[in-house]
Symmetry: C2
Subunit: 646 residues, 2 copies
Amino acid sequence: MVNETQHPCSASSSSRSDGGSSSGSESSKDNSRCSTPVLDADRHERLREKMRRRQDAGDKWFSLEFFPPRTANAAVNLISRFDRMGAGGPLFIDVTWHPAGDPGSDKETSSMIIANTAVNYCGLETILHMTCCNQTKDDITGHLQKAKRLGLKNIMALRGDPAGEEWEEEVDGFNYAVDLVKHIRNEFDDYFDICVAGYPKGHPEAESYEADLRHLKEKVFAGADFIITQLFFRPETFLKFMKDCQAIGITCPIIPGIFPIQGYHSLRQLVKLSKLEVPQEIKDVIEPIKDNDAAIRNYGVELAVSMCRELLDSGMVHGLHFYTLNREVATTEVLKRLGIWKEDPRRPLPWAVSAHPKRRVEDVRPIFWASRPKSYIYRTQEWDDFPNGRWGNSSSPAFGELKDYYLFYLKSKSPREELLKMWGEELTGEESVFEVFTCYITGEPNRYGYKVTCMPWNDDPLATETNLLKDQLEKVNRRGILTINSQPNINGKPSTDPIVGWGPSGGYVFQKAYLEFFTSSEIVTALLKVLKKYELRVNYHIVNVKGQNITNAPELQPNAVTWGIFPGREIIQPTVVDPVSFLSWKDEAFALWIEQWAKLYEEESPSRMIIQYIHDNYYLVNLVDNDFPLENCLWQVVEDTFELLN
Amino acid sequence: MVNETQHPCSASSSSRSDGGSSSGSESSKDNSRCSTPVLDADRHERLREKMRRRQDAGDKWFSLEFFPPRTANAAVNLISRFDRMGAGGPLFIDVTWHPAGDPGSDKETSSMIIANTAVNYCGLETILHMTCCNQTKDDITGHLQKAKRLGLKNIMALRGDPAGEEWEEEVDGFNYAVDLVKHIRNEFDDYFDICVAGYPKGHPEAESYEADLRHLKEKVFAGADFIITQLFFRPETFLKFMKDCQAIGITCPIIPGIFPIQGYHSLRQLVKLSKLEVPQEIKDVIEPIKDNDAAIRNYGVELAVSMCRELLDSGMVHGLHFYTLNREVATTEVLKRLGIWKEDPRRPLPWAVSAHPKRRVEDVRPIFWASRPKSYIYRTQEWDDFPNGRWGNSSSPAFGELKDYYLFYLKSKSPREELLKMWGEELTGEESVFEVFTCYITGEPNRYGYKVTCMPWNDDPLATETNLLKDQLEKVNRRGILTINSQPNINGKPSTDPIVGWGPSGGYVFQKAYLEFFTSSEIVTALLKVLKKYELRVNYHIVNVKGQNITNAPELQPNAVTWGIFPGREIIQPTVVDPVSFLSWKDEAFALWIEQWAKLYEEESPSRMIIQYIHDNYYLVNLVDNDFPLENCLWQVVEDTFELLN
């Protein structure tokens, strides 16, 4: 009656004992367990598996194509766009290969580095395009090795546009995408998921539509896992193409490439490049409104939505690939109207995970980098192992040095002029600094009428969760407790809670109250006296820029400050206050005063000297209230400190 | 002002940065962290460190000496005594070396195996005695290597009694204890803590008291860590001895050996062996009452208490060593009257820890062996690593086979006749089995008037915690849900809770409700239907003796069912329901039906066939209610099942 197992992992132990003797201990020797606890299956699947799983579940998805930016500033903007558009839940993004832009280099704007950033820092499943014509095998292998090293797992294998007018096949060279597919499979076995391009109208250079289909089949049979198509203007174009593919035995997923028309000129340029013809019915609409960008975009959105609906309704299409042209509005609009833009506030962990394969098991981080996750990933990129289950288990190597903190993804998104408006063109004393902190907390404009929407330690406005503490934070910042990180205590809220929830549903999340701030040595002296009263309840670490360090952490152990209990799983404790990491964090936290704030002002200027004074003399303090079921006592600690000072 | 750290571990990071440059990232490279989270400092200290810490804290302690038993049955009793006397909190126990009893062998009664059991299975800090005269270096080294392998860390180095009347020193042989001390230090460096014997009246064979003191000093200077003295009858004897030791430069701890007089004959025998003289004032009291055992014991207790008080009051004595003669009453009485018997209901973890050094970091176990911790330790003794932090992290090797389950420490403490009275001389059907389970739960006598104080799966009466579930357990056992393990849900009780608390104070403990039972396939069929309603809330594993296995565990992950949150620490999750271990446990759980119960009856007898039928046809079921903050739903699940059956 019950001769079945319900999970793949159990198969071996159960099936083996089916035929076993009556009380054999044979099954006790079976060690085929899933060895790593899985919080989020997604993190452990390859792209083609994710695609398959979504298709099996009848779950429609989308993906987004971007090209590499031309300037470092544009790169900062593109990465913000990755974060914003990543929130809608794309199955993957892809980054085109830009032969003219030194695509495999370490430049901030190269295809390779942009794809690297998307995977590692934005946590997005990413496909890196790669073209092969006019390149040597060694070059290609070098690019692929580098991609693998950076954690990239998916390649879109393309021929690319030949450089000269009169292109000739090279013997033993890469002449077609299929050569690149074969090369990847030869040299890298099954490591990469490979995508190839399909042409619903046939490749413009192909002898015929049928010949082009045969080429596509060759690419698939050489090892490609799925196909993304060139853009097209009519749904029937794609559906016919798909049937033709199936008819000749192509069974892998074929993803239609969608191009929402966003403007007259971009359409013309694209059409020219892709040698496609715009259907007359579209031309008829566009020509009369060609100078009205908004009208064209509205039309483009309408057209894309109706085409996508038809594709999805056909039952043959499970995912849609968008050519975004690095723009946000039109694509997001289409996705929202289709109902497949899914801004899921649910997080697998309280912090943004990286998609690098070696970070798959990572499920613990120090709380200090809560607002600077990209910096944390950057400073730990050389680690071989990542804390899993418990921070204390990891004999983690040191954090990376700060010498590279100027790299674009660690820079502020805002330009100098804006920062000056927010943080003050001229500071008159420590109080003007208190004011900036206070305005950031309250959201009120500063004395010059500007809202403070970021701080050196927080490149984004206040988190929703921190909003829960807003009134108290405002009060203490006004008086010189300059908060840079905090969380309320949580005693078992559902894991689906829209503000503090994370992890699978059906669980409960918990937090210890946390408060981190810079403050003067006078306040620290009083605080230490007050903390004696709270000795068993509050753990503290207090450090200045020179590294003078006071703590009551037992045996310098990490303190878990966020944890979750889920059905059928072990406890997950993703955030800790780790005394050792705190000393690395303090270097970064203190450096940000100088690098981001003081340097806005002239050397020797009074404003700069004020920030320098704070940097040299203030302490960085963190406090944890261990009694999470009781009312947060940290505000009382601060209140007592102010009272003692009066 | 704050140029100090408060914990030894932090010394390096702070002191190094004291003189550092203004924002050096030097301290961020400092990786001298305590790498393993420490729940219980005790588990990580050597005996001499524990002794030192207790002395520094002004904390009085005691230790207990036992000799190896003569028979396997006596060994089972002695181990129960270890467990009972271990509850009083001895700093260590020691096991004498019994040259006539093949002391280094694998016999159940050898000194080596008894000490092994004390350390590994009873979790007691243990000193193994070892004598050296008439033995070769190779023999001694072999014994020491074996002791080390078994996890023994402390040796009492003794000369032993020469075999012949006319003993002569051997050149290059072991003639004195000091030779053994040197040999241990030479061959095993600092691995062992070494104890040596001191003679407050001088060794009977020594040339003089002073010469004996010089021998003692030699032993200490050769590497002994502390001294335990021969028994004595007057406190001033010890105090003078101690001063004399100090006067010649012996500074290590000296622990007085206390012998509570327990009877006329044992006193005479001991005095003869140790060549001591009983003071006249004691003889005067004892001789007239020499046939009244109780009177002598009472006197012995009085005498010991008064002597111990005087020793402790002297301020020179921090610990007392008791010669128990393997008896419990007198020593326990003395300890209780002195107020140093400390039955601490507080547990570092919810289960009894082993004192084997390689198990120091162990802090997770499957719940299945909750009532059979010795069996769990036995079946995992070959593991090289133990789960720490999380079960899923350990790529644990298989559980040991059951072929040795007859070993004495896995046997029932009760003899066959008693078991038959409890479990029934004759069974008439499955219902008589239900009745035995029910009587065990209720504590009521069975139909023959005997209380059922143990079961094959529980060698002890019901745990206090299980008592919380008594009424419901009784109800379901009557109807054929034969429970063998259960725990209530706990939503954050203080870690100091006398019933469910564990771990350091100031923390909170949690549990998911758990229920494990044997039941018929009819009930399982209904249960599975009912469980569909509870799919997201209840995890289950259902298996029969053949290994047919049904579960809804996600990806066969372990489910944490006990965890604790403590100030300044990471989460501890000491108990899990692990699907893979469950299959090893089921072999043991099913085998106990046959080995402990069926085999009480004649082959082919109806009683035996009833147990055999249950063994062959019943299922072993475990249920976890994941919703620990809500009322335990497992009783409702069972109720629903019975309803469905009706």
